[in-house]
Symmetry: C2
Subunit: 420 residues, 2 copies
């Protein structure tokens, strides 16, 4: 595609590409944008190495003109979009790339890979955080996702309200709070559960969480209290009927005088399971598989479409495809979240080829991320995660209360288009 | 966990950990193991960098004894397992790690991340390849998965029968056949469809595939034939009712004399959609989203459990947890695929603490992957992918024909345990 466009000369035409979804997969009430920080970090170093160029040359994937273009590639365009952690709806222009066709086209897969995965996890994680209310959710899903996706998932989870992650690499890269846990293998490694608990308490102190379902939950809880006394930090349950187990263990702990010992539950939790544990005496949720796989929606179905391009006379023109069921809307978009007098969101307003009209309550959603190739400050690294997390919490409070419904349904606010 | 075990001394006990699934998620009839090559490539370089150690030290994640252990970490154990591309069933011991607890414990997340993701994709891809029969499947899903997961997915797809991938990085790393495609944006970039088609044909020759559903399919097909003549390689359809569209376009191409022009279809294909296109005049399938997300089963639910460990007297003992619904089976496993006189598989036979009994037809499934820390040759890089692909094709032909059923159900052969 690039080779043909370089040969025809069209590769150097100015274009505007937009990232959006046509619908919210899985009947989600809202989507959460995540991945911006990772995208900008990657864009900063986006070059083709000599190994990569040699591969394309040796295998004759592209011609010499294209190899030359790739050897010198640097992104020099401008990118706007929703800030990371922001909530989005169908057709929200979450990212907008202004660049030559060649530059915009090269970034397509990189952009979609990041935003599709990270936003799928963030959307699921936000629902889980909402379902958990004031109780902390802990991210423990690394083992159920590709090893690098796991790092991105931990990051997306913390942006959307998770209190910490067991992924130490994510902690290192993004300054996230990290947590640890002991597995059944640790108990089984020792000659007895007593020896295992003693070893853990000796090394980590009494404010630790002991896993109590390797053999017999009642015996393990009694043993844990015998060894650690009333200062025992917590116990973890990872199997069985968690509501009944939590109730039983809470009563047992209380009867032994351990009213301050927490109960953490794990075991294939999703937002529905978390909601169903709301009345159970649980202090924290450890979430794994369902988090890193987007809780049934493993990708956000975001697409990257050209909406405006220069014609042969140098004039910018809106363009759109007419494909059956997949038609796109030509023209550069703008977006505001319409807020009523109480500051509650009532619509996502998308301006097509005009600035979306806004009154003083409304909130402009587009921010500058890259200007003429320069990544703008504040979106990357630990600072980016911290700001995205704050932004997500604020945006969520603006939504109507129906946003917290877990059942599939329509987006909680409608998307409205305003044309010139 | 590691810190407590180092402090108690138990970290240096010999252990055997096994990777297996308790069930085949999604009612799959068989699973496909993938990821071995990636795991062994990663294991070869598995060290902790000074940046990583500094992070753990600065954040006081672990104590000095543990930091020392990690600074000097090298894996020195022995690993056996099913070869990559092999088919597996519930409780198949697809990987078996013999090492000290500390060494085995450190690899847990790395192992599970790789095998859970790669096997989920491979299992879905195998079903798609089976559904496609002799027609080629092409991997085009990178944009719907994390950017590194996308590379792993392309690799897993080729192992299980896909003819090529659009992921050039996967092609570079693993010697895969790569393919390209033009998007709607390429057509929209030009002032007219005619100019776009001319540019593509000029640059790539007549043996290229033109995307014909940007505006009007009939007009686009007529234009493509007008410009390229009877030598036009192919056309791609990416929207609408693909069965009806393919039928219509085939008749149109034939009526214009282009009986040799292929039809490639794309648009959210999964194994069921591919099967439903079996009678349609389609020449190739481009598969994206559903492939890289495991077609509804985005992770393989593999677990990593200690099954044997040294006790305080230095004697190896089987161990198992009793957790409700998640009980494990203690003791080191072996595995053969029982084959009848016609060479057809009839059972997965798992020996528990003994060598699984086998007659001359049966096939031993465990191979040496790492011996005393040394990665064995033949499993990594392009050679590993090529051998895994051949192995998968052979193993698939051994299964009963019911293996090709796409509907959810029981595994196509039962798992039988043989105890000493």
């Amino acid at each position: 595609m690039l080779q043909a466009a370089l040969a025809s000369g069209a590769a150097h035409r100015k274009t505007v590409f937009e990232v959006f979804t046509r619908r919210l997969s899985g009947g989600r009430r809202y989507g959460v944008l995540a991945g911006t920080g990772r995208f900008l970090e990657g864009l900063h170093d986006f070059r083709f190495t000599s190994d990569e160029i040699d591969f394309l040359a040796d295998r004759k994937v592209v011609n010499e003109q294209t190899l030359d273009y790739l050897r010198n590639f640097r992104f020099t365009g401008t990118i706007r979009g929703y800030a990371e952690g922001e909530i989005f709806f169908p057709h929200s222009p979450v990212l907008q790339v202004e660049a030559t066709f060649a530059e915009a086209c090269i970034l397509e897969t990189f952009i979609l890979s990041i935003f599709n995965y990270d936003s799928a996890v963030a959307t699921a994680a936000s629902r889980m955080s909402v379902a958990a209310g004031t109780r902390p959710c802990l991210e423990m899903g690394s083992r159920r996702a590709h090893e690098e996706a796991a790092v991105a998932a931990a990051r997306a989870a913390v942006i959307t309200g998770f209190a910490g992650t067991s992924n130490l690499e994510a902690g290192r890269r993004y300054g996230l709070h990290t947590i640890g846990t002991s597995a059944h293998s640790f108990t089984l490694l020792h000659d007895s559960e007593r020896e295992a608990f003693e070893a853990q308490l000796e090394s980590l102190g009494k404010d630790t969480t002991l896993l109590v379902d390797t053999y017999d939950v009642e015996k393990a809880v009694r043993l844990a209290v015998e060894l650690a006394g009333p200062e025992l930090g917590g116990v973890r349950l990872d199997s069985g009927d968690l509501v009944a187990q939590a109730q039983y263990v809470r009563e047992l702990l209380d009867s032994l005088g351990n009213t301050g010992t927490n109960i953490t539950v794990t075991s294939d939790l999703d937002e529905d399971a978390i909601a169903s544990l709301a009345a159970a005496p649980v202090n924290a949720y450890g979430v794994g598989t369902k988090l890193v796989t987007g809780s049934g929606v493993p990708t956000s179905s975001m697409v990257y479409k050209v909406v405006l391009r220069e014609n042969s006379e140098g004039v910018m023109e809106p363009v759109a495809k007419a494909s059956s069921g997949k038609a796109s809307i030509g023209g550069q978009k703008s977006a505001v979240r319409r807020l009523n007098a109480e500051g509650r969101a009532t619509a996502e307003v998308i301006g097509v080829d005009i600035t979306a009209p806004a009154d003083s309550n409304d909130r402009d959603l587009m921010v500058d991320l890259v200007v003429d190739g320069a990544v703008q400050p504040g979106f990357t690294g630990a600072e980016g995660v911290r700001r995205a997390s704050e932004r997500h919490a604020r945006s969520l409070t603006e939504l109507p209360v129906a946003a917290t419904r877990l059942s599939p349904g329509d987006p909680v606010i409608p998307t409205e288009f305003v044309n010139s």
